[in-house]
Amino acid sequence: MPTSSTKYHHPYFTPAEVEHLSEKQRGKLSKTQEDKVRQNACGFLEALGARIGFPRRTTATAQNLYHRFHLFFPRKDFNYFDVALASLYVSTKMHDTLKKPRELLSVSYAIRFPDLAAKSKHPGGEVDLDNMDQQVVEHDRQRLLAVERLILETICFNFTSRMPFPYVIKVGRALGATKKLTKLGWRLAIDCYRTLLPIQYPPHTIALGGIYVAALLTSFEQPPQAAEPGCRTSQDIADSLSDHGVWEDQFHVVVQDLEDIAHTLLDLMIQGMQNSSANTSPSTPSSPHPHSSSRNIHAHAAQLPPAPYNADQLIRLKIAMREHEHTPRVRQPLGNADPTAVYAGEDSSTFGRNEGTVRFLFAPQGVVEQGLVGD
């Protein structure tokens, strides 16, 4: 007789849990190789989002779901586009920006096989699925749906998802940041989704982290600025957020969290600069198209523009930060030492199956038992 069991939604993980779970799923890959695959997947999702016109929330959640998936499932058993596409599909449902699997597949083929895309008659460059091997398409579609099911179980079918992006604007406004600074903070919040930060910190913390790093980037080793009317300088904001203060109670954040986020983001940027310098070669800028305007960016711009920051400078910033950083806070384990025990052994045979009863609850056990959460 199939047994019944209960699974609790696990919205966040501690850094230690992330480390432990990732290691399990990494298998024979090195950390560097794992990170490369992770960045490829995130880049693939960005490209899909850019072509289809998804709002940030859809792309960000897809990246989040991708990261979460590989805390529970080994990398060797899945290729990254299958998982990324399935994550995106789930995200489109969560955020009411629906696209059918076949539509997603069509755009994904255009990105993965640019020669096919070049032959396409569609104005948007999507590949016409009727021109592709039907078996391949159907196979890919089935795989997408199968991975979707697994993803839904990793989130216990909890479709709520708060995003940091509105908080970046609200917090920026409350702290007196300029619009330009807020914009940079917003972009940094977007980049956070290329890391595992969003599964370790709540969205308002990520938002503050974005503002903090924006303030640091625009003030570190820069000449002192004059404050714009009604606003504070980057230096001023960076100083406030580098130490304990009223802002912690105001926004329910602690300074140690911002420091962790800052280091992770800076590492991401340093890595990004090392990658782009490997890709570009010295060349003269291509001459402007005679009919180009700021709206018609033609595809002949062959080289990526160089990153606006200097890797050495960012490393110095990290060192400067370490000199006055605070003791990281002790994180209570959010689950058993090995949450994947739920998904291993006998239990893994019930995973994704339809026998037996599994109750999926929307919140961690402690919260459910205290009656703090309805559904």
């Binding site: 955020h95 609200k170 329910h252 954040v253 990153a307 209570q332 959010l334 919260v367």
Partner: protein, 272 residues
């Protein structure tokens, strides 16, 4: 096809235009394909039909223009290997520049003064707003047209009179078939709108095959208006519409903080 044939064909498609995607796409494809030879001619047909058609067909034309612009801008962002003349047309956005020139005139036809224009008023405003958000037309121009519409509406309501007598009843029963047709078409459009409402303007992204860069590496211009990518447009829209930090945010933050950082002494949660 010679220019005369093209004109005739365009007029035929315009007169048969309804709210279905099929009929819209047919005309869009035709218009785009013949832009280099007869773009201006076709545009003239469109404007004329807008001035002369029934009130229902005018709103159908407006929705067709929406699809047309979307397609034009999509093409403008893709690389092509056609002749340089075709390329020049594509790069300039094809019909979008004609629309920018004539938008006020078209809106005046689609929403004529008085009661006659009322059925089309709300949809027209929605389309204009969407053109503004997606930067299909310069936002200032859209604002100008919208304020003209609003000023008209305010002046018009004070001098409105209820229709009296049998002549009004007769004309409304003759238009019954049109009314039902209009209801169906509105339903079709609302359905499509729901599917497309969230789409960000994608035509501002370079059609590049490079893996996308970090968002924070993108250039950050000092002044507004130097819009480069959809990211900026989405930020601008969010900037304008997001409220200040308030009690709801405070509560949400508290809730999330509790989920992420359980209080001391609560111990690990049992996931078994």
């Amino acid at each position: 096809m010679d220019p005369f044939e093209v004109r005739m064909h365009a007029l035929g498609l315009l007169k048969r235009l309804n709210a279905s995607q099929q009929s819209i796409q047919k005309l869009v494809t035709f218009a785009v394909r013949n832009f280099t030879q007869c773009g201006e001619d076709i545009w003239t047909c469109i404007v004329e039909e807008c001035e002369n058609g029934s009130i229902n067909s005018r709103i159908n034309i407006l929705y067709f223009l929406d699809s047309l612009c979307e397609t034009c801008l999509l093409l403008a962002s893709r690389p092509t290997s056609s002749s340089s003349q075709v390329n020049a047309g594509i790069a300039s956005g094809l019909y979008v520049k004609y629309l920018a020139q004539d938008v006020a005139k078209i809106v005046k036809s689609v929403v004529p003064e008085g009661r006659e224009g009322l059925p089309n008023l709300i949809s027209t405003k929605q389309i204009l707003e969407s053109w503004r958000t997606k930067r299909i037309i310069d936002p200032q121009k859209v604002d100008d047209v919208l304020s003209t519409l609003n000023a008209r509406k305010a002046a018009g309501t004070t001098s409105e009179e209820a229709p009296t007598g049998s002549s009004a009843r007769q004309s409304s029963s003759l238009a019954r078939a049109e009314v039902f047709k209009r209801i169906e078409e509105d339903r079709e459009r609302h359905k499509r709108l729901r599917e497309r409402r969230w789409v960000q303007p994608i035509t501002h992204n370079p059609a590049s095959h490079h893996p996308p860069q970090l968002a924070s590496f993108l250039p950050l211009p000092d002044t507004d208006g130097a819009l480069e990518v959809s990211l900026d447009i989405e930020f601008e829209n969010d900037w304008e519409t997001t409220s200040d930090w308030n009690e709801d945010d405070d509560e949400a933050a508290r809730e999330e903080a509790e989920l992420c950082f359980p209080a001391e002494g609560e111990g690990p949660m049992d996931l078994s």
